[in-house]
Symmetry: C2
Amino acid sequence: MTDSLVQIAREKLDQAVAILPHFEIDLWLTFARETSLGKDPSLDLIYPFDVTWHSAFLVHQSGDRTAILGRYDVENAESLGAFSKIVSYDESIRPALIEVLQEMEPKFLGLNFSVNDPAADGLTHGMKLYMDEVLEAAEISPDQVRSAEDFISSLRGQKTGTELEKIRQAVNTTQEIYGLVGEQIKPGVTERQLAQFMKDQVDQRGLDYAWDPLINPAVNTGPDSAIGHAAPSDLEIQPGHLVHFDFGVKQEGFCADLQRMWYVLRPDETEPPEEVLKAWTAVRKALLAGAKALTPGTHGYEVDKAARRSLTRRGFPEYLHGFGHHIGRVAHDGATILGPQWDRYGKTPEGLVEVDNVFAIELGVKVTDHGWVYLEENVRVLENELEWLSTPQTELALIHPE
Amino acid sequence: MTDSLVQIAREKLDQAVAILPHFEIDLWLTFARETSLGKDPSLDLIYPFDVTWHSAFLVHQSGDRTAILGRYDVENAESLGAFSKIVSYDESIRPALIEVLQEMEPKFLGLNFSVNDPAADGLTHGMKLYMDEVLEAAEISPDQVRSAEDFISSLRGQKTGTELEKIRQAVNTTQEIYGLVGEQIKPGVTERQLAQFMKDQVDQRGLDYAWDPLINPAVNTGPDSAIGHAAPSDLEIQPGHLVHFDFGVKQEGFCADLQRMWYVLRPDETEPPEEVLKAWTAVRKALLAGAKALTPGTHGYEVDKAARRSLTRRGFPEYLHGFGHHIGRVAHDGATILGPQWDRYGKTPEGLVEVDNVFAIELGVKVTDHGWVYLEENVRVLENELEWLSTPQTELALIHPE
């Protein structure tokens, strides 16, 4: 596992140098310390180790990559073999950092802060105050300092070959476990029992969870189950219930995020009631409408609008979240959000879809008396089409009475 | 495990209310989002779940505790049962947060930023910029805003009953594994093999690592092994080597951090060479000198100085790190550092030792031709004495030739 993260860090550093000229910063600086307490999500991309003392990672448009670290972290940096220069210190990073900044003479320096994108907002406020003093000493003025958010969005969002390989693997494993849970769904079984069955599958394979295992999987049976970020309950599956799952494994550091659906037939039913089928069709069509709009160069909010409109045109209410989000090292892998221009998304829906972005796309509706119809698939954006990383659920799976 | 973290969050919220009057802030505000990408270490203390959208946790001197969260996170907050008020929102946290702040009318608002203490520096710069706008709208002026670092240092540093119980458990398990590795140490075995043996023990017990498993355990055999933050190598144990380990498990969310030592006798030796014994005695005595100075109300740097002087008085060079650090949820669990007043430690050595702090204390020296002598123990500070959580290594363990 470590080997692939090392390989990916090398790929991402190459990518950083390659894409930096497209942004209005010539030097990108990641500034971190004591990563065991909290790690800048951008550092994860380019440095697969922890750091203890103040550490600076500088990537310049010229191709130059410099790391400045406390003495005990130098060996790790050297083992990566991806920095053109590694500087070690014992007492303070300040003199070395000032010297390197003065040598590099950035016109515009990109730092990892962002009001909009949590994935580009890894610089803490205390570290920014420290950096302000360093920049003053290095004679870099505040108006030369910019948010690196657009650059980070592309660097994080455009998956490399090894990243794609790892996401595919996580999607496949998640589907494999979904393939097993279908047989466990029968009247009398509780949400919690189904969740435990899936967790056992994850643990037996020695895998991690794509998000908080308290709500991964989320399991919702019937109309009384709270959808959202609540833990599986003791509610029992009953005939007439829609049974819904939101689940994803994290494997070798990369995530999948898929939702799947079953309907439990009543003894007198051979197919789901009409209102369930109507909701199913509307959700599936809205998902496809969004997928069709998911093309390079499109704004995130436009993709969301296509799915949202498809759903509301059929008389269903809007879903209270975005249509899609990046997946990668985490299940919500940074900007661009395929979502409405709501305040809580900041400017992230204004980002543009790019080739090699990987999104989870999702939406759903509630059917009174039956439960939730929700779907979620994982897709990769190509130049002229989508690659479906998951095998889409195209039919509402049925549980037959015994 | 989740149950104990829930219990601890309740204890920490009670503790927060109890200690807040001792600090010059009347309202403490933790402001977070998308914690799967990076979590404010202070949020971990009081809220054992992830959050997705902007979320605010406010603790007031009056005892009032309010949480403002996106709709899907509300159930978790309710399940904790520790907030007097929970506010839910869909589109933006801004109006609710402004309203709560206006109601609370703080004189001095403490936020989680710190130049000195990474554990008190969880507010990102982007979130600080967002908060600045909220505070302006709530008519709270910038000079009413303060770093909550001193408060957080006490809140994190003073372990509750359940926290102490969990740390004790991690220390005991770490010692249990150390008890097994002694039999594996013999000439020809590599650092990497010993590390793998210990990792197997950790994995078999289903435990986590107190820090990056790449260097946990750290294993150093002989004079050619690089000490510090480097991974165990293929160097083989040889007669005449000092064999040194730095290792700690994380169990139910809490950490131990212990170093242990062996000496491998040469065929003609019945005890270690004099220079090894001299170093051993100096290290052990310096550790005890530091431990003696570790009393409530003492500055961190004074404790370090006591250990450092004891070592240098015996003619050994200074160690290039601090004498001690808190342990808890992570191996480096925030300020106060028991370390010298070096720039990279900021003001953290100026903090005062408090009752119910738990520290890892450590130091060592190199012996030419033999390797490293290093010791590390875990201790709890009481009113008039130390409680040794680890059973201290009082003799250099010997490996006899076969």
